[in-house]
């Protein structure tokens, strides 16, 4: 077993063992709160906490690691420490800041790694100092600005001290190491900390370590920055190192594998995004050696993280697309493939600048956020517009389909309004009480504006409400249209009663609604037109509102795992869906309702103007291994992807797993612990999923053409 294989096992186990936020960090955070001397301004409070964590977190170095920065195993809370922690927690909770210190946009943004690597923390500190000098103390904003800069500075300095501790630990570990090869490795690891992150980076290894280290620091302070476009940031360093013989491709690949493992250790199955290819901020194509290595590492690491995606452009190299299809065909569920042209158009439409529109990430599932300048709340909130029907079906005055659909839309609009108001209130509260001093130092234009990224410092403040069950809404309209208004085989109150009683004793009519009424995703113009109408309806509703920071709302059409949760709360629906069953989870047909193959799904969704879905549109396809495993099958899927992109569709993702395996895995989870599936925009281990979601995945139509 080589090092990569050994590390894979450890990373998988660690990912499953560690909680989302390690106890030691919680202890250090609450301890600081419990201490008497505490700043009054929330940025400074938060900076104090960040320092407390970074200055005391115990460092651990694993014997297989080439990159430093991992959760430590050794920490066990003493009784005394527990008391302190509980005291701090009490103060924190009594303060009434129930939303926590964290800003909701955390976890879906990418900091300005390019700048970090180019100027180092030193450069950022200098920028802060220059901005501090410029503060006009006669202005009412002076206090906020000064506190913001002071807080970011404190946190940045703590990162540098933490890096120094790592250097010392690594040197110590090297001295204690008896095996000479490993001793050299540890020395080289320590060397990475001699300049970076304080100084600018000069080499690939150093840059990758620096990027990971800052990302790790953010995770320790309960913030997150995703990796984003690493083939772009790191290529100049890689190219120079290769040219100068400083590094080999094999070693660079091993480092990328280690970075992938580390994602699993600290994020477990939280889908942390890496987006490859596409273009840079200047519009130049990014396809390079690192793009290939990053795709290949999906296979050699083979775990759930990172959530690798490729940004498709027409000049994407043919062999790279083939490599992607090869990964997909082997069942790794990644990369997912995004349509750069459509997404750029959508971002421009939303008011994003040309440069920023070129340079975005899919954040976790499919939510598009511009890199290095976003404070975007994605999938906030998950809105279930299908609940509208629980009211609308009982109306006695809807004698035409037009009236029915109008009424359903009005009730849905009210659901949307209420949900958005609630989100704005949360956002406002977090603007007041939450802050991210460390992350803000790397998010544009926080330093320029002297504001925290959650309080108006970030360039983009969109909110992306998500609509799981969108396709149900469409299918419901189509079913009622046919059954009640066209064929008149049922009355609206018949349908209402059936739904209320979960079709008890009415299986025949459930089958009618399910099978005889048309369904979205089969290239049937009439129902597809309803989908277009509802899509436009949602867009125009969201346009009516603004966030508490003046940002705009943009819809998302995926579900993460919420199609299961919301489905549990939703009574039976007139599309033949029974009570408690999951809702639709993507832009394609509702699970199992596509009867005419993958091209028909595409023909249906291409009728929708997908550029308006920058909140994220996922389209799932499931192929049998026997189909996509053959050379002809792979070629067909490659061409399918191209046509999908040519037809202005947003994103495509695949499950390649045989029915048999899924059924077996449900029965005997212990045998299938690493079986990966694509859920609703992201990948997860099948056996970790809720049984409802497992059932939905099994139900999805498998495309197995002959």
């Amino acid at each position: 077993m080589n090092r990569t294989e050994m590390y894979k096992r450890i990373a998988f186990e660690n990912g499953n063992r560690f909680p989302w936020y390690p106890e030691e960090c919680q202890y250090l955070m609450y301890k600081r709160i419990a201490e008497a001397e505490f700043a009054q301004i929330h940025n400074l409070k938060r900076a104090d906490i960040e320092c407390s964590i970074l200055d005391h977190y115990s460092i651990e170095i694993n014997s297989l690691e080439l990159l430093a920065g991992r959760f430590s195993n050794g920490f066990v809370l003493t009784d005394e420490q527990r008391n302190i922690m509980e005291k701090g927690r009490g103060i924190y909770e009594a303060a009434g800041i129930s939303g926590g210190w964290r800003n909701n946009a955390t976890g879906h943004r990418v900091i300005d790694y390019k700048k970090l690597l180019r100027v180092g923390i030193k450069g950022i500190l200098a920028e802060i100092d220059a901005n501090l000098e410029k503060i006009d103390y006669n202005s009412p904003e002076a206090v906020e600005k000064k506190a913001f800069y002071a807080a970011s500075k404190k946190s940045l300095e703590a990162v540098c001290r933490f890096a120094k501790r790592y250097y010392t630990e690594l040197i110590q570990a090297a001295e204690n190491e008896t095996e000479s090869e490993r001793r050299q490795e540890l020395k080289r690891m320590a060397e990475n900390f001699t300049h970076a992150p304080f100084e600018p980076c000069a080499h690939f290894y150093e840059a990758l370590q620096c990027m990971w280290f800052v990302q790790f620091c953010l995770k320790l302070v309960d913030d997150i920055s995703l990796t984003g476009r690493m083939d772009n940031y790191l290529f100049p360093y890689y190219k120079k190192d290769i040219e100068e013989g400083y590094i080999t491709e094999e070693f660079a690949f091993e480092l990328i594998e280690q970075l992938y493992f580390k994602h699993n250790e600290i994020y477990c199955s939280w889908p942390a995004a890496i987006m490859l290819g596409g273009v840079d901020r200047q519009g130049r194509p990014v396809w390079n050696t690192l793009t290939y290595l990053c795709v290949k590492a999906i296979e050699t690491t083979g775990l759930v993280n990172p959530s690798v995606a490729v940004c498709y452009t027409e000049d994407m190299p043919e062999d790279l697309l083939e490599l992607c299809v090869d990964m997909i065909s082997k069942g790794y569920t990644r990369p997912s493939i995004f349509n750069d042209r459509v997404i750029q158009e959508g971002l421009l439409e939303a008011g994003v600048s040309v440069e920023d529109a070129r340079y975005y990430v899919h954040s976790t599932c499919v939510e598009i956020t511009p890199i290095a300048c976003s404070n975007i709340r994605v999938a906030t909130p998950y809105i279930n517009i299908n609940q509208a029907f629980e009211k609308v079906l009982h109306r006695a005055d809807l004698n035409t389909f037009e009236k029915f659909s109008e009424c359903a839309k009005n009730v849905a609009a009210e659901i949307i309004r209420k949900d958005l108001t609630r989100v704005c209130e949360d956002m406002y509260a977090q603007q007041q009480y939450a802050s991210s001093p460390l992350a803000s130092a790397f998010i544009n234009d926080c330093l320029e504006r002297g504001k925290d990224c959650g309080a108006g410092g970030a360039r983009y403040d969109f909110i992306y409400p998500c609509f799981p069950g969108f396709v149900n809404f469409v299918d419901i309209l189509a079913a009622v249209k046919k059954a009640v208004y066209e064929e008149q085989v049922l009355t609206l109150s018949d349908v209402a009663e059936m739904c209320e009683n979960n079709f008890e004793g009415n299986e025949k009519w459930r089958q009618y609604l399910l099978n005889i009424c048309p369904k979205f995703g089969n290239d049937e113009d009439e129902v597809d037109a309803l989908a277009k109408e509802i899509y436009e309806f949602i867009r125009s509703e969201l346009k009516k509102y603004q966030t508490s920071l003046g940002g705009t709302f943009h819809p998302s059409y995926f579900a993460w795992i919420m199609h299961g949760a919301l489905g549990k709360q939703t009574q039976a629906t007139p599309d033949g869906r029974k009570e408690g069953e999951a809702l639709s989870e993507n832009m394609g047909a509702m699970q199992g309702r596509d009867k005419n193959g993958p091209l028909a799904v595409m023909r249906s969704i291409e009728k929708i103007d997908q550029k308006y879905g920058i909140g994220g549109i996922a389209t799932n396809f499931r192929f049998a291994k026997s189909f996509i495993g053959s050379d002809k099958g792979k070629l067909a899927v490659k061409n399918f992807i191209k046509v999908f992109m040519d037809n202005d569709c947003f994103e495509i993702q695949f499950n390649v797993v045989d029915q048999q395996d899924l059924m077996e895995a449900k029965k005997a989870p212990e045998k299938y612990r690493t079986l990966l599936v694509r859920v609703a925009g992201y990948s997860d281990y099948f056996v970790n999923l809720d049984p409802v979601i497992q059932g939905e995945i099994i139900k999805r139509s498998e495309h197995n053409m002959i």
Binding site: K508, L635, A636
Partner: protein
């Protein structure tokens, strides 16, 4: 001009190059006992019954004009194939097989996927059944396809008069024609028809220099022996043109289909041949390129 089809399969990959749309035409004049598409035999509409989908609602019995004693007339001599049972079956346990389309309707269905034909070098494949039994209809659709430059392929058993081929061939880019057995008696036993016309047609097509692929289904206890394959190879090597051979190993996954049609599957207990390399070798000995198809 209408024709009768029973399925249009988009995103097919095994019936010619690239991504294809395969049109299954209803009606066949052979009765091969191993046939994968028994629903293609009759040109008349048929009913199919998938018992696992039945919810026992009894609507089919109520709808059947010939039903008695709590049963429909489905699959009995009384059944007039009116399709009322299928119309009443919301669970789609009973479904109708076969529908009529105009050449224009079918063509617009084919045209939908033109983008992926272009990307992948694919096109349309007419399969069946025997497409050449509806030659006028086929010709009308083919002419529309060729006007749009769509690559066309035809799967035929070849058992129609040459004059039919003469009308159709100018519009076909690729032909797949079966040889089931070179021995006429055996051929009659396995398919119900003599192979003479088929062999003649193949010889003529070969002489015409078109793009012809010979398909050989390899069926246990019928032609999966050296002598049968040798006889076929011998015939192919004697053709005026050179042709690729595709060997299609028998498999019994269509068994369920026969059950839903209330038909007997003539190859019920036969097994898929494990290895056909020996057959490939026989063709190689005749310097004919053969490969095993999926």
């Amino acid at each position: 001009m209408t024709g009768r089809v029973f399925n249009v399969q988009h995103f097919s990959i095994h019936d010619g190059p690239g991504v294809r749309t395969t049109v299954f035409i209803k009606g066949c004049n052979l009765r091969c006992f191993w046939c994968h598409n028994p629903e293609s035999w009759e040109q008349a509409m048929q009913m199919q019954m998938n018992r696992s989908r039945c919810i026992g609602c009894g609507e089919c019995v109520k709808a059947c004009p010939k039903g008695k004693g709590g049963h429909t007339a489905l699959f009995t001599a009384e059944c007039e194939r009116c399709g009322k049972c299928a119309d009443a079956c919301f669970a789609q346990a009973i479904t109708k097989i076969g529908y009529d389309v105009t050449a224009e309707e079918l063509f617009s269905e084919i045209l939908k996927d033109k983008d992926i034909y272009i990307k992948s070098g694919g096109g349309v494949t007419f399969s069946g059944g025997e497409p050449l039994l509806q030659a006028d209809f086929l010709l009308a659709v083919l002419q529309l396809c060729k006007a749009e430059n769509i690559h066309t392929a035809l799967e035929t058993a070849g058992c129609v008069p040459w004059c039919v081929f003469e009308r159709i061939l100018p519009y076909i880019d690729l032909i797949f024609c079966d040889i089931k057995s070179a021995d006429d008696q055996k051929h009659k036993r396995g398919t119900g028809q003599s192979n003479r016309l088929i062999m003649e047609n193949i010889t003529r097509m070969s002489g015409r220099g078109g793009n012809l692929v010979i398909r050989v289904p390899v069926i246990p206890a019928f032609n999966d022996d050296e002598e049968s394959i040798k006889a076929i190879a011998d015939f192919v090597s004697g053709l005026p043109g050179r042709h690729r051979v595709e060997l299609l190993p028998f498999h019994g996954i269509c068994k369920g289909k026969y059950e839903t049609l209330n038909m007997n599957f003539g190859a019920e207990n036969m097994k898929t041949p494990e290895n056909l390399n020996w057959a490939v070798q026989i063709f190689e000995n005749y310097r004919i390129h053969a490969h095993i198809s999926e």
